[in-house]
Symmetry: C2
Subunit: 447 residues, 2 copies
Amino acid sequence: MDKDVTSCFSQRARWAAGQPISELMAQALANPELISLAAGFVDSSTLPCDEVRRAVEKLMADPHQARAALQYGTTHGDRKLRELILAQWQAADGNLARTDLDLEQVILTAGSNQLLHLLADTLLDPGDIVLTARPTYLVFLGIVRNVGARAIGVPTDEDGPIPEGVEQTLKELEQSGWLPRVKALYLVPYFNNPCGATVPQQRRVALLDVLARWSRHHLIYLIADNAYRELRYEGPDIASMSCFDQEGDRVIETGTFSKSFSPGVRVGWGILPSALVRPVLDQKGNVDFGSPHFAQKLMAQVLQDGGYQRHVKMLQATYQEKLHAMLQAAEQHLGKLPNIKWRHPRGGLYLWVELPEQVDTGPGGRLLQEALLEGVLYVPGQYCFPADQRPEGTNTMRLSFGVQSIDGIQSGMAKLARAISRTLAACSTPSRGQEPSRLASARLAPQ
Amino acid sequence: MDKDVTSCFSQRARWAAGQPISELMAQALANPELISLAAGFVDSSTLPCDEVRRAVEKLMADPHQARAALQYGTTHGDRKLRELILAQWQAADGNLARTDLDLEQVILTAGSNQLLHLLADTLLDPGDIVLTARPTYLVFLGIVRNVGARAIGVPTDEDGPIPEGVEQTLKELEQSGWLPRVKALYLVPYFNNPCGATVPQQRRVALLDVLARWSRHHLIYLIADNAYRELRYEGPDIASMSCFDQEGDRVIETGTFSKSFSPGVRVGWGILPSALVRPVLDQKGNVDFGSPHFAQKLMAQVLQDGGYQRHVKMLQATYQEKLHAMLQAAEQHLGKLPNIKWRHPRGGLYLWVELPEQVDTGPGGRLLQEALLEGVLYVPGQYCFPADQRPEGTNTMRLSFGVQSIDGIQSGMAKLARAISRTLAACSTPSRGQEPSRLASARLAPQ
């Protein structure tokens, strides 16, 4: 017998191996003193303990409701919660809202992450293509890789993917014979992960127009991941992508209560074009037979009681302060270093930072080592670029102001600035090589 | 553009289409008056409302615990719950328990169903083979189909798969060149779905011995689905498959709290050979980034407080009565009909019934129509046989005593007997053809 046990693993298992996010999490776990500006988690102190306690009390006080919550639900998801989600989505879209959406188009999943994977399984064969911004949500890149498909980055500016750039990419793919394999454009329209940018209304229309014109072989879907829509701290809301979907058959909206309420309850949702509902539910039926009914009933209760809306308001105020603290700390600590750029997001959880080109922010570079020595962690920006274009973004990083307190943000940014400063100094002197023993001891006994 | 929207769906989406269980559920939903002896659900009146209410109260009373429960967990799953599961599993196995199991080998999933799918994705490429009993758990057959693999049924008797039959099947697969594609044997060792049989200890050893001898190209795993272990109403427990796994690298144990506590909370678990932990977690990381932490913390609380153990005792007493009610009703109503056989299970939720060979219990047969006219639903037995061997079991059915009250069981069995009786009468007279209009109206206005 072949003693290499991996010889019986599937191709998919090989595609899944070695996720960068696991490495980062392992680093954070191995060193609890570390100030993580990496994790895209929400602030634990904002978690809705009272709202959840009250909602469960209410739910369990009604024996009929209580039993229903503890029984299997449907693969589609709890009807009441789907109604509430649809109504809320339409209300947020105001007078541009699609009124032709049917409740059957709304489905519930275990976070929106699960829905993204179900969509990948439903749409993508190995070798198929999804277009993404450059940079984009790194976990989505893992999902695409997991099913053996390819993410191809399109030209992107501060407002997201550039419509003319998408068009140019599609033209090139047509010339090389790959156009029939393009199944979707993946987009985070609101306060995207990792840059914090929101796609303006006019560009939403233009992107859909490009996809419609290039859907020559079949529909090219637009997957709109709205994880951060509720986390807006400045300016007015913008209507969702589906409002601009002429035929109503192209835009897939995904959302989640993980960022705006609680990741531990873990309820996500989608509003799908009708043709996609059955195949996505067929996948879901095989994958887990429906998401936890109890969590769905709990979220329905929280939405009905207005506890959700109150919580989002509180979150907006809290995160606005934290965003400003991070921007201020960036000004104070990074502003004095040469050639460091960052953007001012109006919502979300992230700050995207560009360093001088000679600085390698990646896992093999000096900066990450210096940062770990200081006791601060960031996400190397290169993880957020599709593999086809790597190495790209090797001088960038994603910072999050989600988890840390304001003190933690300030102290983390000061540590980061010191690490950058030392790295810049080393870049301008001859290489001295790495110092693994110093790094190893630093991880065990951080400063 | 091709107007057939399915042209852009994946091969996997095509594999997933048309699940028999969705058809059955649609039939049940369309007719709420129907007495369903089909669904493998638990009895709603037994659901642990008080236990859950108390556990959530306790959990939320401690702010530190409460916040942890509402935050992201790890992909691995809550450590405390994994400890409790491992301790309980080892306690159940008594002096045969494996003491060399490591906590890292225990992982948490959204029901054990999700774990079965993760295992399929980790082990099976399209065209790969899993051996199963004949009949076996129909949802597992859907999972295998979903990843494009093949389930091949092995000779099976009242004690489960016959070791010599497994050996013979492997020999034939070797002769036809397919042996390298055999990745696992799937087994429900306790009170299996759909027959209710438990694999005796000696056969457990023999099955593992066969797999060890035929693992020539690579390890052939044994997936032991223990969904019903706790639902024992008679006789002493038997040690789990892993106790007889000589090298400790072959047996994958899966379990769930869906049958023994609450499907709505939806927490399942696995104890995996060490080599499988990383690849399965890599899949899970991509698929959903970890199961709901809140549900895991809740289950840990319930287990710690002894509420789980009390609940299982209550369930055992309740289901024992229901099993006896079904056996009595079978005796009373089916016993007077010719050539109908059923087995006496000592646990689980199911009764497997064999009718005379000329009776077609399938979706196109007369009996299902007659049963719907009477207002009773069963699972056609043929759904529980691997597709390669179909049509097989066309004269069998799976009944469940899980959902219905004792009255419901009695009345359902009487209805079923009338439907069988009419079908038998029709079998012995010349065919009169089907009566679709009568069926259609019956579905809308059941008796």
